[in-house]
Symmetry: C2
Amino acid sequence: MELTERKKRILRIIVEDYIATAEPVGSKAISAKLELSSATIRNEMADLEELGYLEKPHTSAGRVPSPRGYRLYVNELMEEQRLSLEETRQINQALHTKMQELDRVIDQAGKMVSQLTNYPAFALTGGTGRVVVSRFDLILVDNNSFIAVIMTDSRQVRNKLFRLPNDLTVEQLQMLTTLLNTAFTGKTLEELTPELMRVAEHAAGSSYGLISIVVSFAMECLEDLENRSVYTAGASHLLEHPEYQDVGKAQKLMSYLADAPKLSSLPIPAMGEDNTRILIGPENVAEELKDTSVVLASYDIGDGMKGVIGVVGPTRMDYARVAAKLSCVAEGLSHLFGQELPPAGQDKTTDDGSGGNA
Amino acid sequence: MELTERKKRILRIIVEDYIATAEPVGSKAISAKLELSSATIRNEMADLEELGYLEKPHTSAGRVPSPRGYRLYVNELMEEQRLSLEETRQINQALHTKMQELDRVIDQAGKMVSQLTNYPAFALTGGTGRVVVSRFDLILVDNNSFIAVIMTDSRQVRNKLFRLPNDLTVEQLQMLTTLLNTAFTGKTLEELTPELMRVAEHAAGSSYGLISIVVSFAMECLEDLENRSVYTAGASHLLEHPEYQDVGKAQKLMSYLADAPKLSSLPIPAMGEDNTRILIGPENVAEELKDTSVVLASYDIGDGMKGVIGVVGPTRMDYARVAAKLSCVAEGLSHLFGQELPPAGQDKTTDDGSGGNA
DNA sequence: TTTAGCACTCATTATCCCTGAGTGCTAACG
DNA sequence: CGTTAGCACTCAGGGATAATGAGTGCTAAA
């Protein structure tokens, strides 16, 4: 059954008032904004309550939106907030300044979102499933150290500097590289067995166990990349909001946020328009989130993989503002990963118009 | 003036009792542990209070150690806690499993310390001062992408994958590598001027601005490495302790911990024995830490550089336990960075005794 | 020097009461 | 029939008051 236009207007006022003030809103406040007496409003509010859109903290307080009320607000009543051009520009610039490795960027983005919204934020990377090494490169640094660079099929690159007790020649290293690339690329974590290593080690001859060392490193990287990684930021923002003045509540949520494995196993729901999704209170599956809201946005990592960035807060959350900012950041991230050349170079060296790149 | 042996014993009991219970400790509780009447204890406590080692929250509560009391306890009364072999083993193993890049290890170590102690922890890396690139390597991945690997004089390695709109040949890349290594190694951040890039760009001919792109990346890395980086973990542990049941207090400290720039500019005092240092309440210079204690331990990063790892908590902190664990972790870190070959390889592939490495 | 005893202090907790914001209901009004 | 004024009712929040009890300082005796 559809609500009357007037009921919707009232609901909307209640939600927005409550979001702004965190105080239950009473009939008088609304009658002031609408040209109706408080008694009329009370009747309407009673209806809205019966329909499950409003709740009373207690008999003699005003009304507060129920999760269902927020849901209706988010679905129908909320005006999509447009960020000013200035704001989007700032966000994108902040993203672009650091063109580091993927995970650093994501971490940074999480911090940014938290700062932007004043809520705790978290960011998850793809959760790739199976990853394999697509190439090994070994770079000789000096007689007894070298850098191993590995790249995966998902185009992530990791490196590590190794020091050795013995001398090492370019030839040895080249031989090793070839061996690694023939025997260990394209193999999943499980396929990289100790046997395989032993065989290769044998084939390499007197290489002091270098194969195992590099492959072990690769395995760690694979493990790292196969699992979603989690970054959280700004947990302390929780305490700014009146609903978390109760230390017990705050702590419960904060420990949940600090628990990376739990967070990373968060089931990711399908995104709506704008690539965002809003989960209100009990709509969350995780027990710890039952009376908080989560706003999510997904971003493209490339290769069809997706990551998620999200904000956690009380159900009384400024959904419009948060969703807008989150969406902007997520879009910025997708753009960042999707493009050919990072544009930071343009920023810093515009004085000479050498390259004709997109 | 030296305290009598008995006064010291009383002070020690008070400190340890208070650390354990967070309740002011009264004369009766002590008289039970010592063979003295409560009245005698009261007299002694009155003395200790006059000397500034104890405080009363109010007239009719027990006594609480003052910062000065904690200091005496830490300096003279506290028994250095030895971790069990099992514990040290666990800590070292946990550190060794992840033999990733330096900053990941440090981050991990911070998390570990927090978990070990149930207090928030933070970790700072060296804060190197001037860093320069010691070598560039470019690895051709396919026609239109390559990996740039840069290594600094402080032996840190960073990498990034670049995609290009145009094709690229091995020769071009080799040429670029040489050019980068001749013109841009050994230069500080300030010396890597746009002019220098323009000149090199010109020398390289039609390379689509690749020089600037790689050098820009290098500059970002340098900037990153020159500044101390900060990692914090386990802020939510704060809320577990009764002294932070007051949300205002908790929030003040948590925001301080979340403020990376502030934390990284924390002046690092000289370390004592065990490479640890305890700062009690007002001994801290930072205003925000005036009524919290900080336990620090320093670790060697190599090349004579040092990092710091620390724990933050109320002055009522289990100094012995925290210092012991922190020291163990810091030692583990130094060891990890100092040694020739990471021992993780041994762990996973002991089945064949191929290499003769330390 | 130690101890028993006693008067005193004061945070904590419970109880009570008042106030005021807000409600539901009813009856009158247009 | 929808709207409104009026009125009795509810209940959280805040202040005042009192009882409780843990702990103290001081004094006088052992």
